[in-house]
Point group: C2
Chain length 342, copies 2
DNA sequence: TTGAAAGCGCTAACAA
DNA sequence: TTGTTAGCGCTTTCAA
């Protein structure tokens, strides 16, 4: 059904070898033959069988990415932007992208293992690193190329790109403290996630810098979704002595928290301050627009992908790891100076 | 470096063929040999080389999906949910998912062509169908398996799943008209997109049902992003005789429109009604919560994927195409009965 | 400048 | 029940 080297060889009366070399522009093929072969290939509509090339070359020119999904209503805008970043870069560098979806957990590792052992991909991009990350342990120990977006607490060192979440959260804590808030809550995320850990830590430290101690009762944990942000913020507002400011671990939860506050009749930016983290496009047009920390997800995807491909090709990396300083984006969800009504 | 059938064969003193058959549990292999081979495979940590299997089988067990991206800040929650739907189903049925990102346009077709001709995928999932869709023309003419989420105006028929956007928009138009709105605007999307066309059409018809004619000046076009929703809604509100209701072609633009209205000091749900389409998770927790049309994206992804795999395996489809009736989700962005203040 | 031959790892038709 | 042989489509030594 489809044109192979053999077909071309037959047509031009040369060997398969010669045809292969002609097509690859080897210089031990006469110009005439090359011309002949190229024309025939063109005419016959030849396209190389990549699978065959891969078997021979023992490499797949494919990058693996496993999307951590959480139930059917999974839809974090974060990931489509990240995916666009790696996808575009991969395409540009001639790599394909093999994506799997998998909820984090036991089974997850099998998905990685299978792709590695069956030679389906040349390397992996890891996201949502965990403090103790079995995926990273596995890949390290297997000596398989990968680059992570995020750090871990593991001993093994590996290339990564990360935002300095601690620093970002400190920025936010200072901002809130400077606005005069005292009763400040933190809408945290599961502690096993490395970035969640950093963000909580950074926030605590930031408040401490300003002589405020983060009250244990003021820390609640959500699952990073808007829905849970709503739920957890509600519980915070139900407290006998509710916070005047809520810092959420990510934008989505912050958006949920805004809803929760508004449902209570509070005016966000006046009665209560709310902040996010990530600066997803939605943050700009929420009501009120969200004060948050900007993370250039697309560029991070782009960078991670480039690093991985260099790694696969054993080219030297400019630096093994990149820790970016994020920036504070002040919008309206914190309003002006907060004056305690009491 | 890695264990092959040959290695196992050598170890157990059998031929490669026998080993292969033993591992596949063919019944022309003696139980003892099977036992022996399985144990050896286990011991040696054998995993089949999938690339080799693919070359031999002439199929890839891989599904292609090309994510239509639009610039770096691309992040439509729609797609991550859809991706989760197809990804999970594909994994369940033993298929991999090859994802590419590509802005719609000239070059796009090359990406499809390459994947088809190089045998990288067994079939494609197409999204964001266009009225005249060259991707579909190409795949049809090439006789390559694919299933689309969305229809086209092409002659060729092909399997698809779609929501009845026309019907959905009619629902919304009726709702708005029943609330007493007269000056109603439509925040449309590029007309070449099939669903955008249907949605505009449905909306027009719905208003006509209620004896209202959609004013040409009341139709503006956005690019489906929140940012553009904001911009276009602003232009609508700038009109000398601004609308009392805006129906947006999708939720993201509706969210942008809400911002625009609020920036003007309007109370959405009271001074102005705004509706969306899609019912993305964000719609539930926007401020105010968005009245919209529910589209079960995850399930659609799941279904499309299942259909494609059946198609690849030449199993009969229950039905060649599925047109779902969407449902209206009434929340607060339209408020109560609208009484014209004049 | 070209071609024969081997081999990537696997499956399958056929023979024994 | 097992092994031999061929072949999927390609690249790459090696020899001519």
């Amino acid at each position: 059904m489809s044109v192979t080297l053999k077909d071309i060889a037959k047509k031009v009366g040369k060997s398969v070898t010669t045809v292969s070399r002609a097509l690859h522009d080897y210089d031990d093929v006469s110009p005439e033959t090359k011309e002949l072969v190229h024309r025939a290939a063109e005419d016959m509509g030849y396209t190389p069988n990549i699978i065959a090339q891969r078997l021979q070359k023992q490499r797949t020119d494919t990058i693996g990415f496993i999307l951590p999904t959480f139930g059917p209503r999974f839809s974090d805008p974060f990931f489509s932007e990240f995916l666009a970043g790696i996808g575009n870069k991969a395409a540009k560098l001639g790599y394909d992208l093999l994506v799997s979806t998998h909820p984090p957990g036991e089974e997850e590792l099998k998905t990685y293992r299978r792709k590695v052992q069956s030679y389906l991909v040349d390397g992996f991009i890891i996201v949502r690193t965990r403090r103790k990350d079995t995926r990273i342990e596995y890949l390290c120990q297997a000596g398989f190329p990968f680059v992570a977006f995020g750090r871990t607490e593991e001993a093994c060192d590996f290339p990564y790109v990360d935002e300095d979440s601690e620093y970002g959260m400190r920025l936010l804590a200072h901002h809130l403290a400077d606005l005069g808030h005292q009763r400040i809550a933190f809408l945290a995320a599961p502690e096993e996630l490395m970035f969640a850990h950093f963000r909580l830590k950074g926030f605590e430290e930031g408040l401490a810098d300003k002589g405020i101690q983060l009250d244990e009762k003021m820390v609640v944990f959500g699952d990073l979704t808007q829905r849970d942000g709503f739920r957890q913020a509600t519980s915070l507002l139900d407290l006998p002595d509710p916070p005047t400011a809520i810092a959420a671990c990510n934008d989505l939860m912050a958006l949920g928290a805004i809803s929760a506050a508004q449902k209570r009749g509070l005016i966000v930016g006046k009665d209560i301050a709310i902040t996010g983290f990530d600066n997803i496009p939605l943050a700009e047009h929420s009501h009120p627009p969200l004060t948050t920390i900007h993370q250039p997800i697309y560029q991070i995807g782009d960078m991670v992908c480039e690093m991985l491909i260099k790694r696969i090709n054993k080219e030297p990396l400019r630096s093994q790891s990149v820790l970016q300083k994020p920036t504070l984006v002040i919008r309206e969800s914190c309003g002006e100076k907060y004056i305690n009504p009491n």
